[in-house]
Amino acid sequence: MEMYRQVFLLDRERMVTAMSTKMKRTGFILACLIPGLALFSLFRIYPTLQIFHKSFFMWSAIGDEPKFIGFKNFVDMFQDEVFLLSLRNTGILMLIVPVLTLAIALINASILSKSKLRESGFYRTVFFFPSILSFVVIAILWSFIYHPSIGFLNASMELIGLDEFVMPWLGHEKTVLWALAVTMVWQAAGYYMVMYIAGIDGISPEYYEAASLDGASRIQQFFSITIPMLWEIIRVTIIFIINGVISISFILVSIMTAGGPNRHSEVAITYLYGQAFKNGNFGYAMAIGVVVFIISLLLALLSNRLTEREAS
């Protein structure tokens, strides 16, 4: 009898402790997740859902009650000439900047990791440096480089006798986008270079040895070994940089040109921002956000599809 009682007690104790450890575990999981989830929901998930939801509303002042208007914002957008121009400019930047940045980054990465120069660490440090600078600092510095009268660019053009090319780079409709693109490439090339160097360091040196025994030149090796072996990394970086262009172009344009001259450097996000905070068209601004988000997602998918290699 006494023995049974003890067994029973032990069992109960075990059950109680099992239950309490389970409760402790659940409590721990909740305590760990809830603060982060609350923060993330309030400032990321909810705002993201809001963009999609409110893009169907007319909402032209903070105090007003938003009015449901279906797809009208989206229809208006494609008759809005300034929006279309801003979309075109964004598209041009999304094309020029990734191509130039990745080409320069790849070439520099393969030079630095394959040529074994003594001072390659120095170049690596220097080239990477712009990618940790504040976009605001970069925007201000480059405004002065392009400055029509005291700028470095025009001064050096004059120095080497190219006086006829001296111009207000940011003030001319034809050059402004290119000027912004050069700044973006200057900012980002080093970052992707460091990524590619890591990738190249991971390629087995035997491939290169075999290729040079076969008499392949450095340039042939670059195209037949480096690029194919880095392909997956290149695909990922294309998507990174398309996203990067969206956020850096916003800051550069709003500080360097304010969309000018004559809206020729307006990008979709600066237009969105102006619609929201200058004109108070919150519904319209969010609809623009939806369109830009979808376009950048489609571009990412497209580049992913285009760069896909058949499994061989």
Partner: protein, 295 residues
């Protein structure tokens, strides 16, 4: 082809010939790389030089050296341009956001990496999806939320928004890192009666230090340089952070032309970045690979 014929003809000179060719090749590479380095460094050197110049000297030529070291610019940056205030706000916002980030990210990443519970996969995917939602898309709705909850023009809530913005990336990075720590340590700690929280703080956090440091470095640059959200959510002059203060100053100096203090201000923003970069350069590039290449 012609090279091969040449080798066959005179193998003796071929060796010196290729080494000469490779030497010229190297020289050419060096010239290209040095030119690029100059292209990268020049704007920064110019900025530092200009921060010591008088306005007249700035106008004169972009190459000239300053006539004398004009510390006036820095004094004016602090007094009339209020760079000191902006700097204080930036330091405060960076420290606060960093504290919030670590407080929420480390436990979240630990539970998602280690504990099995229903909804874990879903929650992980929610955070991963956050990697694609950049700040610029959601400025407008975040502004409206903050307006409803009376959180605008408040440095604490700005920091909370920063922390929320860096969560997706930091959680992603730390999950990857925590998964590489062997489970035996935790099991031993649990048997020793450490409890869940004890295990997390006394065993896991010290072991995950390299991963946490990577998160700290990346967040530092993000928070210190952030502009769009700070510009939108903070309206009082005395609460602005340094990037916003600088862009305002730039806006004014276009017409007022006290360039010296603007350049001095730019140098002041650069200094902390340069210090952190030179101290932690290796960690930073290593962390980039950790975060970038596994994706």
């Amino acid at each position: 082809m012609s090279g091969m014929q040449f080798t066959a003809a005179s193998s003796g000179t071929a060796h010196t010939n290729t080494s000469l060719k490779s030497r010229i090749g190297r020289l050419l590479l060096r010239v290209i790389l040095l030119a690029q380095s100059l292209f990268v460094i020049y704007p920064l050197v110019w900025n530092v030089l200009a921060s010591f110049k008088t306005n007249k000297e700035v106008l004169l030529s972009p190459w000239s050296l300053p006539g004398s070291l004009n510390w006036d610019n820095f004094v004016r940056a602090f007094t009339t341009a209020k760079m000191g205030d902006y700097m204080f706000n930036s330091v405060m916002v960076v420290a606060l956001s960093m504290a919030i980030t670590l407080a929420v990210v480390v436990p979240t990443a630990y539970v998602l990496a280690r504990m099995k519970f229903p909804g874990r996969k879903f929650l992980t995917n929610v955070y991963m999806a956050g990697l694609f939602i950049q700040g610029v898309y959601v400025v407008v709705p975040i502004f409206l939320v903050m307006n409803d909850l009376h959180m605008l023009d408040n440095r604490f809530w700005l920091s909370a928004v920063y922390a929320a913005g860096s969560m997706a990336f930091s959680v992603y990075l730390l999950i990857g890192f925590l998964k590489s720590i062997p489970r035996e340590y935790e099991e031993a700690a649990m048997i020793d009666g450490c409890g869940y929280f004890g295990t997390l703080f006394r065993i896991i956090v010290p072991m995950a230090r390299p991963g946490i440091i990577t998160v700290v470095i990346f967040s530092f640059f993000d928070f210190w340089n952030e502009y769009v959200l700070a510009m939108t959510f903070i309206s009082s002059e005395h609460k602005k952070t340094i990037p916003v203060g600088l862009s305002n100053l730039f806006e004014i100096q276009r017409y007022a032309t006290d360039w010296g203090s603007l350049f001095a201000g730019l140098v002041l923003v650069l200094i902390p970045t340069i210090v952190v970069y030179s101290l932690l350069q290796k960690k930073l590039t290593e962390g980039m690979m950790l975060g970038g290449l596994k994706g």
